[in-house]
């Protein structure tokens, strides 16, 4: 079998220990705090007030103009307060706190749209995806409806990103095994909306059981338009630029989008969410979260309602076995460390990782850059991170820009492989921030 790959990158120790454990539903949390901005774009405005009754799927925040997604209640109960919390990026975000009545009643608005796929128009599908509040579930949280809209007439391939190249995370892996049907349905809907004949499921070769499962599902459907691309396990294979290059040999030009080279890429769970919205009318109110790390007693995947606190998830997984030193939202390569144990699960939370002191990389010894070239060797964008970091440190931002610092995808491969322990990618982020601010 031909395995697809890209130049650069690195094999990161996988730690995919939760792959064999079925995902479990989180017991109803007592309260949820649902942020109104879980996506890239304009934050939603609250449309409920404290004291209002809401059900699962009731719209609690809307975006009228601009890029954005509506927000739905993930539990049934009473709105307690509308307050401001800090999100995973550290910015204050308006959030709606809902007290759970544990009845799990569905809102009257949650009804199947009742459109047959053959008859559905692109506009109808986009509308359904928009109203379901679906944004990219891989972590980037770009509103999916806008992604589809911008791809109309431009693409010849739709790809489902099932690479899951971050260590520890197995949420997509479990979804492939447990809800493979939904993912394929979602892909069919997208292909139909865009009039595309070619659909690709891109899976890394550390998930061969999922490949077998998807193969048998595809066979049962006798579907000719969809194929599976098995990719070598390598970080950052799940970065859409690397994925497009690996599977199609096309390079996304700097500053352009995948649609500009004829590809639409959505995450596996996003595809499943599109399927649920289209066939059953269920908005995006829950997701699978991998709860892992050496501090967690029973690591596993949890189906959690949006807005449930990290502590709810950790307690459900048996609590801590060691003193936690770092809590990460997302994978260890690109995820954000949190300072609050009670941060809420959002649309972008693919994992909650809890590490003790010995797992924390602050323990690595730090010397000056020794010019070894490991970062250059491994950079998937073929940059020279050592020089970029040096320029950033010395505030020589113009030179950094000339050396294409803006092409950096911040995957962290450079820092991971740096013997000197230099925080290369962080210095690059600083340079990018300054350059972006100058341009504004």
């Amino acid at each position: 079998m031909k395995k697809f790959s890209f130049r650069g990158g690195t094999h990161v120790r996988e730690h995919k220990d939760t792959a064999a454990i079925p995902a479990t539903r989180l017991p109803e949390p007592a309260t949820v705090a649902i942020p109104l901005s879980q996506h890239i774009g304009v934050p939603a405005k609250p449309v409920v007030a404290p004291g209002d009754h809401v059900d699962i799927g009731t719209v609690i925040g809307t975006v009228e103009t601009g890029l954005g997604c509506p927000v739905h209640s993930s539990v049934s109960g009473t709105v307690k307060e509308i307050t401001s919390y800090n999100n995973a990026q550290g910015q204050p975000v308006q959030s709606i706190v809902i007290e759970n009545d544990n009845l799990r009643t569905r809102a009257a608005t949650v009804v199947p749209p009742g459109i047959k796929l053959e008859d559905a128009t692109a506009e109808q599908i986009i509308e359904i995806v928009k109203n379901a509040g679906i944004s990219g579930l891989g972590g980037a949280t770009f509103p999916t409806y806008a992604k589809i809209q911008s791809a109309i007439g431009k693409v010849d391939k739709v790809m489902i990103n099932c690479a899951e190249c971050e260590p520890y995370i197995t949420a997509n892996h479990r979804l492939l095994l447990e809800r493979g049907e939904y993912i394929i349905d979602g892909l069919e809907i997208l292909m139909h909306a865009l009039g595309v004949k070619e659909g690709i499921l891109a899976i890394e070769d550390n998930k061969m059981d999922a490949v077998t499962e998807m193969e048998s599902l595809l066979k049962a459907r006798d579907n000719v338009g969809i194929r599976i691309a098995v990719m070598k396990t390598k970080y950052p294979q799940g970065d859409e630029r690397q994925l497009i290059y690996a599977v199609t040999g096309r390079e996304v030009p700097a500053g352009k989008l995948p649609a500009d080279v004829g590809c639409l890429i959505v995450n596996a769970e996003t595809s499943a969410a599109i399927c649920r919205a289209f066939y059953r009318g269920i908005p995006l109110v829950s997701r699978i979260v991998t709860v892992e790390g050496d501090c967690v007693k029973h690591p596993r995947n949890v189906r959690a309602p949006l807005g449930a606190s990290y502590m709810d998830l950790i307690n459900f997984c048996g609590g801590f076995v060691k003193e936690p030193k770092k809590i990460i939202s997302g994978g260890p390569m690109m995820g954000q460390s949190q300072w609050d144990f009670n941060a809420p699960v959002t649309k972008g939370t693919s994992a909650v990782l809890v590490f003790s002191e010995e797992h924390d990389r602050i323990n690595t010894i730090h010397t000056a850059c020794i010019h070894c070239g490991m970062c250059v060797h491994h950079c998937p964008m073929h940059l020279m991170p050592n020089y970029l970091a040096e320029f950033a440190k010395e505030k020589r931002y113009d030179e950094a820009e000339k050396m294409n610092v803006m092409s950096c995808v911040e995957c962290g491969t450079c820092s991971y492989n740096c013997p000197a322990g230099v925080q290369i990618v962080q210095q690059i982020r600083v340079a990018k921030g300054v350059i972006r601010a100058k341009k504004r």
Binding site: T10, V12, R13, R241, E251, V252, P253, A254, M311, N315, G319, P324, K325, K326, I327, I328, P332, M333, M334, G335, Q336, S337, Q338, W339, F341, L353, F355, D360, R361, I362, T364, I365, T367, A368, C369, I370, H371, C372, G373, V376, H377, M381, H382, L383, M384, N386, Y387, M403, N404, S407, G412, Y416, N417, C418, P419, A420, G421, V425, Q426, R429
Partner: protein
């Protein structure tokens, strides 16, 4: 649950991603690998030239580490001897000395390498030239007489200095009684660490397997020397087998292997791009042949590498890899 609430009062570390790091990889681990890779050749040198050689190596390593600590204390920098780079510099310097030198020579060399070449330029990672090589050249120029007395293999007691293979190669032939195999196994005279070609290659293979060095510099360096010495041998050799012998003798004698495998690949003073490394290696190789043929010295490896050290930034700049999603040359917008 009580324990959990207890934990919740603890402060968490908030730091930028990535939150993990390649296990077991550090500057010290890299330097230790280089040290280990050098050891077989160093031990062979001590066997070939006796206890004097071992003492010189020891003095060199100890004084390098001591000077590093001392300078850093005086300059109020963090003491970085635990990264093992000073020990590697010391060992390399010692291996680049003949076993005949007085014991103050390695001390002087270490002082020059560490204080002048390394610390005054800003310490690890900031030096422009390879410290051990710069020190060797400094010593060769300052103590020309002492630095060129080479004892023959396994004869250290009142030995008479003999011609090294390199000296007689200037006329196109190996010294009487020396074969290519002697050179390969290290049964010859020369600097302490450079005599055993076999063990230097073993060390190089170890570094390649451990991915401490990449193949480009050694292969380009040695390949260039091989090509040039084969095409343009000295002494008017014409027959194929003579040319081949001359080429092999040139590759195996002197400090070429030590230089190509361990000194030209020094991270700090070599390019980071694959093509930059190839050009760097080719440049070193061409200069070695040129200097060996036409300079006043028999050996040209140190000078060649030091000269190429000066070009590292330009080589990196002009061999910059093509960035994903970008043209190699950006079309300049018309003004």
């Amino acid at each position: 649950m009580d324990q959990n609430t207890d934990f919740q009062n603890k402060l968490l570390t908030v730091s930028p991603s990535p939150h993990i790091h390649r296990r077991g990889l550090s500057t010290a681990s890299v330097m230790k690998d280089v040290f280990i890779a050098l050891l077989p050749a160093a031990i062979w040198g001590s066997y070939a030239f006796g206890w004097r050689a071992a003492v010189i190596l020891l003095i060199s390593v100890v004084s390098s580490v001591a000077f590093e600590a001392l300078t850093e204390i005086l300059l109020r920098r963090t003491v970085t001897i635990s990264d093992c780079s000073a020990a590697v510099t010391g060992l390399l310097l010692g291996m680049n000395l003949p076993s005949s030198v007085p014991f103050y020579i390695p001390v002087l060399g270490s002082a020059f390498a560490i204080i002048v070449v390394k610390q005054l330029f800003g310490g690890i990672g900031k030096n422009v030239m390879n410290p051990a090589l710069a020190a060797r050249v400094f010593l060769t120029l300052s103590f020309a007489g002492k630095m060129t007395i080479f004892y023959p293999f396994r004869q250290t007691v009142d030995a008479v200095a003999s011609a090294t293979p390199l000296a007689s190669l200037k006329t196109g032939a190996l010294p009487e009684g020396t074969t290519i195999w002697n050179l390969f196994f290290g049964q010859t005279g020369g600097c302490i660490g450079e005599v055993s070609a076999l063990l230097l290659i073993v060390g190089g293979v170890y570094l390649l397997i451990r991915k401490v060095i990449r193949w480009q510099i050694p292969v380009a360096f040695l390949g260039t020397v091989a090509l040039l010495t084969f095409l343009f041998p000295r002494g008017g050799l014409t027959a194929f087998s003579d040319r081949l012998d001359f080429m092999l003798a040139s590759l195996l004698s002197g400090g070429l292997l030590l230089g190509a495998i361990f000194m030209a690949t020094d991270y700090v003073t070599s390019p980071v791009t694959p093509w930059g490394r190839v050009i760097f290696g080719v440049g070193c190789g061409a200069l070695v042949v040129f200097l060996r043929y036409f300079s006043a010295y028999n050996e040209g490896v140190s000078f060649a590498i030091l000269i190429m050290n000066a070009f590292v930034w330009y080589l990196d700049k002009f061999t910059m890899p093509r960035v994903y999603g970008k043209e190699r040359r950006e079309k300049k917008p018309k003004a």
